[in-house]
């Protein structure tokens, strides 16, 4: 009897350092999991039913029976007119909401004729230089009925102002608008590097936006606290989880310190995670995220409104996992990653297209990506019951493990004085970069296999892709020059002056940004005004 028990223990313990049996993050998996692995798990305390604190199993009692996740495909390329057409295409084919991808000049607060914008206009997303472009972008799209997520960070306050003004022209007030602005500047310092100003003034802008939305836009998600980009930059699943939630804690703390009541804004914070290749690790990550956030909001911040405890998130399948080789394999990768997101209880989902290792998606490719979600929703049956993998010994064990790793990172970052302090000393950046390097080594040693890249390789012909040429840039520059010639220069100059005055003080930046936007200031002009006051930030390169 004793011998049998000992044997069982040996077999179910972690399988040593064999890299073949680790997740993509390097987490070792046991040969199998059993009741022993979840001893001490208390259903009411640690799980709850779906819709019950701590929401490990989902934030709603009905989950997808009540409402399917939003199929929100990220889109944007070329000019505002081209992207407007793609938006209409997606909405006509079953897309549930819009998600805007902007080009690099827009993301970085530069005009299309700035020297650094050479070759960049309209390539990674849609070129928006002023309110005029925003009007074209949403032409014929009713903003009282369509929800929009905007992936914008450094100039987020400006794009938010543009959206409010476009809606105003449609006769739709800000209180009606529903959507999200990403605005998560902390993850820019950690991963995506689309910051403009240094960390502290950047945080001030975020607080101004959260306060503005809390007062004027009750249906708007004020921020999308993101792990997607941190993961794409090379982080492990635990690092993605830890840094995202700790960024969230930082934003909550800054708003509370600015005098806001936590329950007034916490319900409208939202999150954005990656859905990567290791199926069970991702599901565990999503579940752990909900539990950690619920407990943090209730215990650390004393939030009383249950909606403050609920972590709502958007998911995107992992772009970094897509291969240029044998691109049709990417349809399979995306499907598995999308499935993990659904089994993890996401509120909203973007599926990548098969050609995205090399370009923005063609219409054909993005249609397959959208159909992937529709097939999961309507044919696979996985959405019929909430948290279908709840109670799985493996999934519950991984949920506990990844939660513990995240909490350990919280302790370390708290000890450094918080996330802004940690970012200033380069801590999360180094952690992410280290994980990226280790992963590359694992791939080159064939400890991690990427089908079609380091194994199962074959000769191929090039695949047709969406190609954006320099004519978009030329068109955009001509448009901006025309705009500059047509504006009321007096009104514009006054508006930019007011913006700098507000920036030097403590008043909210939103009213002067709205006024400057109305005066058709360009994004470059508004960001430059703020650059004069806040300065520009560039990281200390460490590799």
């Amino acid at each position: 009897m004793k011998k049998v028990v000992e044997e069982k223990e040996a077999v179910s313990s972690t399988a040593g350092e064999d890299a073949r049996f680790t997740t993509i993050s390097g987490r070792p998996l046991a040969r199998f999991y059993g009741p022993r692995d979840v001893a001490g798990l208390d259903y009411a305390r640690d799980l709850g039913d779906p819709g019950q604190y701590p929401y490990t199993r989902g934030i709603h009692g009905t989950m997808y029976r009540g409402r399917t996740w939003t199929m929100r495909q990220f889109a944007g390329y070329g000019t505002a007119a081209q992207t407007n057409a793609r938006f209409k295409y997606l909405l006509a084919h079953g897309g549930g909401g819009l998600s805007v991808a902007f080009d690099l000049p827009t993301l970085m607060g530069r005009d299309p004729d700035h020297p650094l914008s050479l070759g960049e206009v309209g390539k990674c997303g849609v070129a928006v230089s002023s309110l005029r472009d925003m009007e074209t972008l949403f032409e014929g799209i009713p903003l009282d009925r369509v929800t929009t997520s905007m992936t914008i960070n450094g100039p987020a306050a400006i794009l938010l102002a543009f959206y409010v003004l476009v809606a105003e022209r449609q006769g739709v007030g800000p209180e009606t608008l529903a959507g999200t602005v990403q605005a998560d500047i902390l993850k820019e310092f950690i991963a995506q590097k689309e910051y403009i100003y240094p960390p502290r003034p950047s945080m001030r802008i975020v607080v101004d936006m959260i306060r503005f939305c809390t007062e004027r836009m009750p249906r708007w998600n004020t921020i999308s606290i993101s792990g997607y980009h941190i993961r794409e930059a090379g982080a492990t699943a635990a690092q993605e989880l830890a840094f995202t939630l700790r960024d969230g804690i930082e934003y909550v703390q800054w708003c509370v310190d600015a005098g806001m009541d936590v329950d007034s804004f916490a319900p409208r914070l939202s999150f954005f995670f990656n859905s990567h290749s290791d199926f069970f690790e991702e599901i565990a990550k999503f579940r752990a995220a909900r539990r950690i956030w619920a407990r943090t909001m209730r215990e650390r911040f004393g939030a009383k409104n249950p909606r403050s405890w609920m972590l709502r998130f958007h998911t995107q399948t992992a772009g970094v996992s897509l291969t240029a080789q044998q691109p049709y394999n990417n349809v399979v990768r995306t499907a598995l990653q999308a499935l993990a997101g659904v089994l993890g209880g996401t509120q909203s989902l973007h599926t990548n297209s098969l050609d995205e290792a090399l370009a923005l998606p063609t219409e054909e490719a993005v249609t397959i990506a959208l159909r992937t979600q529709q097939i999961i929703a309507h044919e696979s049956g996985v959405a019929n019951a909430a948290d279908p993998l709840g109670g799985s010994w493996l999934v519950e064990k991984l949920t506990n493990e990844i939660e513990a790793e995240a909490l350990e990172y919280f302790r370390r970052i708290d000890a450094m004085g918080g996330m802004v302090a940690a970012v200033e000393r380069g801590f999360p950046q180094r952690e992410v970069q280290e994980s990226a390097f280790r992963f590359q080594q694992a791939v080159e040693r064939k400890e991690k296999i990427i089908v079609g890249v380091n194994d199962f390789v074959m000769e191929e012909r090039p695949h047709p892709i969406l190609y954006i040429d320099e004519s978009v840039g030329e068109e955009q520059v001509a448009g901006v020059r025309k705009l500059r010639a047509e504006r009321d220069d007096v009104r514009l100059a006054r508006a930019l002056r007011e913006l700098k005055v507000a920036a030097r003080g403590t008043a909210s930046l939103m009213p002067p940004i709205l006024e400057a936007s109305r005066a058709y200031a360009t994004i470059g002009e508004m960001c430059d005004a703020l650059r004069e006051v806040f300065g520009e930030y560039e990281e200390e390169p460490v590799f």
Partner: protein, 141 residues
Amino acid sequence: MIPLMAEAAVRRPRVVIAKPGLDGHDRGAKVVARALRDAGMEVIYTGLRQSPEQIVAAAAQEDAEVIGLSILSGAHLPICRRVLELLRERGMGSVRVFVGGIIPSQDVAVLKELGVADVFLPGASTREVIRAIEGGSAGVA
């Protein structure tokens, strides 16, 4: 007798790794930079948001024989054209330019015609990059 042998030490390749334009995706650039350093090369990483002028100036200042550009934004043709122009103008034609990132296969030949020594597409390994740099081919004419 002994100093003669010591004088024959091989000079380590000096490589500038640069992120031109507005793109901030630096995972690949940093992984390559570190791999090259681990392989014994002298690596200077310029950081983000560099203009072609800044990159060429850095290569001149650092006496680098190789420039590695990391471009994921689709801006590779205008940027590479400008970098190679500047190298020619400054008489730095022996500097070899490598490009890595997101480059449509149809543009690889165009880049090589412009004078780029080699292009590393998604899935390339750091070992390939090291081999190409150590291999030493002709620079910009």
